[in-house]
């Protein structure tokens, strides 16, 4: 067992063309965590994960996987790691089962064990029926699941998922979330990058936001969401709204969307009770309510925009 699944210290990467993708980042992921690494395109997420999984050479810095320094014993460190990359990276002409079994062989697993593990994960991910099909015949979502099965065949302690649900339909995405939750509950630490912030909010306990090669936020999901200043809710009313009910107070602002729904911005520190009290006073009966947009999405945009504005101002 290791207390920290991943420790990154002062990691930097400058590509041959001079582009500095990472500017000395520090990051720690505790064992058993479900960790989100978020950032806009080109922020440095994939570079970071590429270095951890040895697909990209680092310029400087230190990385420990489950307490093993990759510069000292990369082979042992790699055994702890499973990687699901953003792009499909398997032989499109090989059969589904062969791809997973072969990966077991790369980790030195005897054939019988590799076959049995492949069967387990292909069944768990709903691909067992497709095991004799050439991988190029699979749909996009199946290809992603195939990469997850392949990454799990050696039962890694740390699983890196780089946008695992990109292009996957909602139903399948949710079943993949359940699967990820399950393997996390079984003790596998997961690092997830995604552009679906709802996904990160739903799955992850801790989060780091990276932008322009620097970590701009690193905290628990809960405390990050508490930083949100305003939350927006949509209320569906039971009966048609008859009168204008626009209302603005210090705590909240109510806007009419149409004749049966209202939008309310609720400031941090205020309570929904005040809003319900107002509705009651107006004789409005609420049949349902929901968040207008993803809370994490709002924060993410706020943080990244704030940083870019700061950079623009300081460069003037």
């Amino acid at each position: 067992m290791c207390s920290q699944a991943l420790v990154i210290r002062h990691l930097s990467k400058t590509y041959a063309n001079g582009f500095q993708a990472l500017q000395g980042i520090d990051l720690t992921v505790e064992e058993g965590d479900f960790f989100a690494l978020l950032g806009p395109n080109g922020a440095g997420k994939s570079t970071t994960l590429g270095i951890v999984s040895s697909l990209i050479n680092k310029t400087e810095g230190q990385i420990e996987v489950c307490g093993i320094d990759i510069d000292k014993d990369f082979a042992t460190a790699k055994r702890q790691l499973g990687v699901v990359p953003q792009e499909f990276n398997f032989n499109q002409f090989e059969k589904v089962l062969d791809i997973v079994v072969t990966q077991g062989g790369f980790y030195g697993m005897p054939l019988a064990q590799a076959r049995s593990r492949a069967e387990h994960y292909l069944k768990a991910l709903g691909l067992w029926d497709k095991r004799h099909q050439a991988s190029r015949m699979l749909s996009g979502g199946m290809k992603r699941r195939l990469m997850i099965a392949r990454a799990l065949v050696h039962q890694p302690k740390l699983l890196i998922l780089d946008e695992p649900t990109a292009g996957v339909d909602i139903e399948l995405r949710r079943s993949m979330w359940d699967f990820m939750r399950e393997i996390n509950a079984q003790g596998t630490t997961i690092i997830l990058t995604t552009h679906y912030l709802e996904e990160a909010e739903s799955l992850c306990r801790n989060i780091a936001i990276i932008d322009q090669g620097k970590i701009i936020k690193n905290s628990s999901m809960k405390s990050l969401l508490q930083e949100l200043n305003t939350e927006t809710f949509i209320f569906d009313t039971r009966t048609p709204l008859t009168a204008a009910v626009n209302q603005q107070t210090e705590g909240y602002q109510v806007r009419v969307l149409d004749d049966s729904s209202l939008e309310v911005d609720l400031r941090k520190g205020c309570y929904l009770n005040q809003v319900f009290h107002f509705f009651e006073s107006q004789g409005i009966q609420v049949s349902s309510m929901r968040n207008k947009s993803n809370r994490l999405e709002e924060l993410f945009v706020e943080l990244v925009q704030a940083k870019n504005t700061h950079l623009e101002t300081s460069s003037v």
Binding site: Y15, A16, G50, S53, S54, L55, I56, N57, F74, A75, T76, K78, R79, L81, V83, P85, E87, F88, N89, F90, N91, Q92, F93, D98, T102, Q103, G105, F106, Y107, G108, M109, P110, R150, H154
Partner: protein, 257 residues
């Protein structure tokens, strides 16, 4: 990783490689058999009967070892170039790079895959040649040793070619402009004793000449080159290319940014 895990990893790469060339046998095993069959018919039967004997053998008997060696050279080379380059191109090389396999195991695995195809094609061409002529065997040990070493050497060459290749055109340049001329001028169809003295000297810088002649010695017992010298030359080339290929792999040339 322990030794047994290295063995499994190596075996996995080798099986994967063999499965690949068997799956596409119509592109890998059939064409050399047809090409060599045509060589036997045209050069051996039709033209060869007019040429007469060479080094005390019929022309057909003389060219068979060279043609077997030619098919081994081209197939062991092209197997590794196409397989490793497509692995790079499809990014499935990452499957190996993220795993704990040492680079030397990856290299040996691909090279043995190339050797397997080279020897497989060599065996098919040998069987085919038996329809056209009788083959004796002068020295089994030399025959097997030189054909294996040659396959290893050209598989290593193919690996290096694939590491440098950035597009599909790049894996065709060396076979077309270097390998084919060297093979044709490497004593496959003639004894260098037929050449003027100057061109005999020039021929000696062609490494393929050493392999073809050593193989011919193994089968027919005649060679333009000293067999021990030839084996040492091939061995030194193998050491040099293996070191170069491993160095490129350790640097991650063309596969890691």
């Amino acid at each position: 990783m322990q030794f047994s895990q290295y063995r499994i990893a190596l075996q996995t790469i080798l099986i994967k490689e063999i499965r690949r060339f068997l799956r596409i046998w119509g592109q890998t095993l059939l064409p050399p058999a047809i090409t060599m069959g045509l060589y036997f018919v045209i050069f051996g039967n039709l033209i060869g009967t007019r040429i007469g004997s060479m080094e005390g053998f019929t022309y057909m008997q003389f060219i068979v070892p060279g043609l077997i060696m030619m098919s081994v050279i081209t197939n062991s080379y092209s197997n590794v170039t196409s397989s490793f380059f497509s692995t790079k191109f499809q990014r499935s090389i990452e499957e190996m790079l993220v795993s704990p396999i040492p680079n030397w195991v990856i290299l040996v695995g691909f090279v043995l895959g190339g050797v397997a195809r080279g020897l497989c094609v060599g065996f098919i061409v040998t069987l085919l040649s038996l329809f056209f002529t009788d083959l004796s065997l002068n020295n089994l040990f030399v025959t097997l040793l030189v054909i294996f070493m040659t396959a290893v050497l050209f598989a290593l060459g193919g690996f290096i070619n694939a590491m440098f290749a950035k597009k599909f055109d790049d894996i065709a340049i060396v076979p077309t402009f270097i390998l084919t001329p060297l093979t044709y001028l490497g004593g496959v169809f003639y004894s260098i004793k037929l050449l003027p003295e100057f061109w005999q000297g020039v021929s000696l810088i062609n490494p393929i000449l050493y392999m073809v002649n050593t193989f011919r010695y193994g089968i027919l017992g005649v060679s333009d080159i000293n067999v021990v010298t030839a084996l040492i030359v091939v061995f030194l080339f193998i050491i040099a290319l293996f070191s170069w290929a491993l160095w490129l792999l350790n640097r991650g040339y063309g596969i890691r940014s």
